[in-house]
Point group: C2
């Protein structure tokens, strides 16, 4: 990195360059690859400002780096104005309208979600999951016809998340007040997930039957390549052939 | 796929199911994986409608499938309203404000882009590229200090794109009217790209010096694994050691 000051060129470390730039021009910006997309006047010479702002905003999305953000922005710029407005409107509407169901805490645009409102579902079974994404994954199987309860996370003392931060008290109320015959725990088997499963299991056992989903070899999985913990779980969870 | 009609269950082919559904309920929708995300009443039971619309809109982006769209939507829903509005606004602003530079046809928020306006650049050299993305790629090298001319595509009779559909007449005007000493052709070496290069080369040779960028082994590339065409190009493009 070279640096021109009062007509003389200096060789300079890029980190230092950015600091010097900040001191002199009051602003300095590098893209995520560490490339300098601003010239010495603090002006972006590569992207025109509205495009630069769009790329910056797109980069905040998960899994979107500078290259993908550029590709998306270039694609959007070339689409008709109507389509771009539709996307912007969908973003604003989704954020404004979607909240949590007051019964099960699943994402919902109405006070009570469509699953809780559906009278054809089995109201005596509640499946407990950590996140709304898990509800969607389970719904896609089209196998489960009961209700859900979304905890909003797992017990993780390291992150300051105790049972009070999760929707557990409302779950206990549901189980004790409504006629719940079975509670199915469907929480991912991480350390935090196991803790949460054990905690809720102990809490609800006095009131109802508590089960948890099976862990074992995934469908299409190869026994030879499965890890030891999965295989041990598959062995201990074996059941009689019917 | 099973289908209940007048209290009886029928086994039915999924394609047929969707047609029957359309006939009976007037609407039917499947997601891109072919899963049925709508129930028999035509209601989406998996995503709440504003979220479904957002996922649908995100899926229109290049390289974004149903899974990524869901992940992005879930992430956006959980971000503060301010951030979501910033993204929506950036989208609208970029589309509204960014047009083409009237000199070089690069993307620009002003009538003449910052590259064409920059008086420190070498105004006697013009680099011809197919797309605005190529300008950005070349600008990132920080090696080239001349001007650009964006064609807006390559000659492709198959797609009905002839020289008239590209910004070629304005290029000839620039070369003949301004003092241009060199024109550098930087177009990707596809069949269409080669055609365009040859066409423009023939067109501009009477007026100025015409060069094209080098093709050969990429930096960090392995000679052993390079394809024959690249190697042949690297051989024919050899130059004396200096």
């Amino acid at each position: 990195m070279y640096f021109k000051l009062y007509g003389l060129w200096f060789s300079i470390n890029p980190k230092l360059y950015s600091i010097v730039n900040k001191v002199i021009y009051g602003k300095c910006q590098t893209d995520r690859l560490g490339k300098y997309t601003l010239d010495r006047q603090g002006k972006n010479t590569i992207y025109t400002p509205p495009l630069a702002r769009l790329i910056e905003q797109l980069q905040l999305l998960p899994g979107v780096g500078p290259k993908t953000a550029q590709r998306l922005a270039m694609h959007l710029i070339k689409r008709p104005e109507k389509d771009v407005h539709a996307l912007a409107q969908a973003l604003i509407d989704a954020k404004k309208q979607v909240g949590l169901c007051k019964v099960c805490f699943h994402l919902s645009a109405e006070p009570v979600c469509s699953i809780c409102r559906n009278q054809n579902r089995d109201r005596t079974t509640i499946c407990i999951v950590a996140d709304s994404r898990d509800v969607i994954a389970l719904e896609k199987t089209r196998e489960y016809r009961g209700l859900y309860h979304v905890l909003g996370g797992t017990i993780s003392p390291m992150d300051g998340i105790g049972p009070e931060q999760l929707h557990i008290s409302s779950l206990v109320q549901r189980v004790t007040k409504e006629q719940v015959k079975e509670v199915i725990l469907a929480i991912s088997p991480s350390v935090e997930g196991e803790t949460t499963t054990l905690y809720i299991g102990q809490l609800l056992k006095p009131f109802t039957k508590v089960t948890r989903i099976a862990f074992g070899l995934p469908m299409g999985g190869d026994l030879e390549y499965a890890d030891e913990v999965t295989l041990a779980r598959a062995l201990s969870g074996r059941r009689e052939l019917d």
